[in-house]
C-alpha cells in the first residue's frame, strides 16, 4: 500500500480576478520531506501556501493534505507568515504569541499546564528563552521570526509552512535562523518559501520552482540554468569572492 502524501496537488489553477496565478499545477510531497519553494515575486509562492492552508480555494483542481481537505487538517499545520503583516505596537509578550499555537476552536478553553510547557519548549528550541516575557514589539526582526516559528512549533505540527522567514534579515541573522530551521528536519514535513535558494541545498530534498506552474527539482539537479529558467530573464548571477553564487531579481 502506497504512503499517503503529505501534500497532493492535482491540476490546480487559481487566479485573483482575471489574473492567473497558478495554472494546471501538480505537486506531491512525501511525509517528512524538507522542501524549498522558490520563484519570482508574483509567481504564486505565497498563494500556493494559502491554498495548502485552505485560506483560499482553487478555481480548478484538487488539494489534499495528509489525504484530506486542507480545512479539515488545519490543526496539524504550523504556519509562519511574513512578519510584515503584524501590528508592531500590539501589546503582547513572546510567551503569549507562542501560546497562540495551542489555541483550539473550543469555546472558553484556557491554556493548560501542558500547553504552557509545550510553548516554553518551542521557545527554547528557537533559542529565545531569555526573551519569553519580553514584549514582542521590542524584538529585532530576526528574533520576531524565531518567535513566530516557535508559535508554529507549539502547534506540534505534522506539516510546517514557512513564508519567507528570512526576508529582510541581514546575512548573519539569516544564516543563524536557517541553521535553527534545519535542525527541525525529520521531525515534520517542512515547506519553506524563500527568495534565496542558496542556503540549505545540502539538507533539502528538493526545490519547488513556482512561476505560474510548479516544477520540482531534486537539489542535485538545481543549477544556475535551472534557476534562470524558473525565474525568467530578470535574474542575474552574482559571483562573490568567496565563490558562492546568488540569484537576484532585477
Amino acid at each position: 500500500m502506497s504512503e499517503t502524501p503529505a501534500i497532493s496537488i492535482k491540476n490546480l489553477s487559481f487566479s485573483y480576478g482575471s489574473t492567473p496565478v497558478l495554472t494546471a499545477a501538480d505537486l506531491s510531497i512525501r511525509p517528512g520531506e524538507f522542501n524549498y519553494i522558490v520563484g519570482p515575486n508574483g509567481g504564486g509562492k505565497s498563494t500556493l501556501l494559502k491554498l495548502i492552508l485552505g485560506l483560499i480555494q482553487p478555481d480548478y483542481g484538487k488539494i489534499e493534505v495528509f489525504g484530506r481537505s486542507p480545512r479539515s487538517v488545519r490543526a496539524r499545520i504550523g504556519y509562519t507568515p511574513q512578519q510584515i503583516q503584524f501590528d508592531p505596537k500590539f501589546p503582547i509578550t513572546v510567551k503569549e504569541v507562542v501560546l497562540m499555537g495551542r489555541l483550539t476552536g473550543r469555546w472558553g478553553r484556557g491554556y493548560t499546564n501542558l500547553d504552557i510547557q509545550i510553548a516554553e519548549l518551542s521557545i527554547e528550541e528557537m533559542e529565545m528563552s531569555e526573551f519569553k516575557e519580553a514584549p514582542f514589539s521590542e524584538l529585532s526582526g530576526g528574533q520576531r521570526q524565531r518567535v513566530l516559528i516557535a508559535r508554529s512549533l507549539a502547534v506540534s505540527p505534522d506539516l510546517l509552512l514557512l513564508d519567507e522567514p528570512t526576508a529582510n534579515l541581514d546575512a548573519e541573522t539569516e544564516d543563524k535562523l536557517l541553521k535553527v530551521i534545519n535542525n527541525l528536519k525529520g521531525e515534520m514535513t517542512i515547506l519553506m518559501v524563500s527568495h534565496n535558494p542558496e542556503y540549505v541545498y545540502g539538507s533539502v530534498e528538493s526545490v519547488i520552482c513556482v512561476n505560474k506552474q510548479i516544477a520540482v527539482h531534486p537539489t542535485t539537479g538545481v543549477t544556475e540554468a535551472t534557476i534562470i529558467k524558473s525565474f525568467g530573464d530578470n535574474v542575474r548571477i552574482i559571483n562573490h569572492d568567496h565563490s558562492c553564487s546568488i540569484t537576484d531579481e532585477d
Binding site: L55, D87, F90, P91, M100, W107, P135
Partner: protein, 284 residues
C-alpha cells in the same frame, strides 16, 4: 473640596454618590473594551457606532411622545441602533465589497441626521445637548444597575474569551487556522463595543464616549506592553479620571463630561510626552 465631600456623604443627597458610583463602575467597561478598541485599532468603528446611537435615541423619543410607546424608548432605541450599526460595519468589513471607511462615515453621519430629524419632529422641548454630551449627575439607581449588569457581561466575556480575543486582535489569519470562528468573535467584539457605548452615553454623551474608550487605554498602552495589564491600568486610570473630573467639575461648576475628558486628554498627552522624551534620551 469640603463642599464636595459634604455633599458626597450627605445621606439625603444621592445624585453625586450615584455619579461617582457610575463613574467607578463604568471604568470596568471602558478599561476592558477600550483596550480592545485601541489595540485592535477600531476606534473609528467605535466612533461611528456611538454617533449612530443618536438615530435610535431620536426614534425612541419620537415614538414615546407620539405613540406613548412604553417598550421603544430612547434607551432601547439607542441599543437597537448601536447593535444594527455594529453588525452592518462588521458585515461590510468581512464580506462587503464597499470601502470600509466610506461605510463607517455613512453610518456615522446618517445616524446623527436621523436622530436630529426625529428630535426636531418630537413635540415639546428636548435638548439634544444632553444626549450629545451626557450628564453624569442625572444618573439614576436604575442606570447604576444597568451599568453593573453591563460590567458583569463584559468581565465574564473578557475572562472567558481572553485568549481568543487576543488572538483575533493580533493575528486573525493564524487564529482562523487554529479553528477559531474569527468572524463571530470580531462581531462579538463590535457588539461589546456597542453595548458599552449605549450605557456610557449617559455619562459622557455620544460625542465624547469615544474619548473615554481610547484615552485611558491609550495611556495604559504607553505604560505596559501586555494586554491584560493594559486592561487593569486602563480601568484604574478611568477611575482616577472620573473621580477627579467629577470633584473638579462640582467644585468649579463645570460640565462634568468635558472635564473628565479634558483630564483624560491631559494625562494622555503627558504620557506621550514623557515616553517620547525617554525614547529620545535612549537614542542620543
Amino acid at each position: 473640596m469640603s463642599d464636595f465631600l459634604t455633599t458626597m456623604f450627605d445621606p439625603s443627597i444621592s445624585f453625586l454618590k450615584y455619579a461617582l458610583i457610575a463613574g467607578l463602575l463604568s471604568s470596568f467597561a471602558f478599561g476592558i473594551v477600550g483596550t480592545y478598541v485601541v489595540s485592535r485599532r477600531i476606534s473609528y468603528i467605535a466612533g461611528a457606532i456611538s454617533h449612530s446611537v443618536l438615530g435610535g435615541i431620536g426614534i425612541g423619543l419620537y415614538l414615546q411622545v407620539h405613540y406613548n410607546s412604553a417598550w421603544f424608548n430612547p434607551m432601547t432605541g439607542a441599543f437597537a441602533s448601536a447593535m444594527v450599526s455594529a453588525l452592518i460595519i462588521g458585515y461590510v468589513t468581512r464580506h462587503g465589497n464597499q470601502r470600509e471607511d466610506t461605510v463607517i462615515g455613512a453610518i456615522w453621519a446618517i445616524g446623527m441626521a436621523v436622530g436630529l430629524l426625529f428630535i426636531a419632529r418630537t413635540p415639546g422641548y428636548i435638548d439634544p445637548m444632553s444626549y450629545l454630551f451626557g450628564n453624569i449627575l442625572m444618573i439614576t439607581q436604575t442606570d447604576l444597575w444597568l451599568i453593573a449588569g453591563l460590567d458583569a457581561v463584559i468581565v465574564i466575556i473578557a475572562i472567558l474569551f481572553y485568549n481568543t480575543l487576543q488572538a483575533i486582535s493580533f493575528d486573525e489569519e493564524f487564529a482562523y487556522l487554529r479553528g477559531i470562528n474569527v468572524n463571530f468573535f470580531f462581531l462579538l467584539l463590535l457588539c461589546l463595543t456597542a453595548m458599552t457605548i449605549v450605557v456610557l452615553v449617559r455619562i459622557v454623551g455620544i460625542v465624547m464616549v469615544i474619548a473615554l474608550l481610547t484615552l485611558p487605554a491609550g495611556t495604559a498602552g504607553i505604560l505596559t506592553k501586555k494586554l491584560s495589564q493594559m486592561m487593569i491600568i486602563a480601568i484604574l486610570l478611568c477611575m482616577v479620571y472620573t473621580t477627579i473630573g467629577l470633584s473638579f467639575s462640582y467644585i468649579n461648576d463645570f460640565p462634568t463630561g468635558p472635564t473628565i475628558i479634558l483630564i483624560s486628554g491631559i494625562f494622555y498627552i503627558l504620557a506621550v510626552a514623557v515616553s517620547s522624551w525617554r525614547k529620545k534620551g535612549k537614542q542620543f
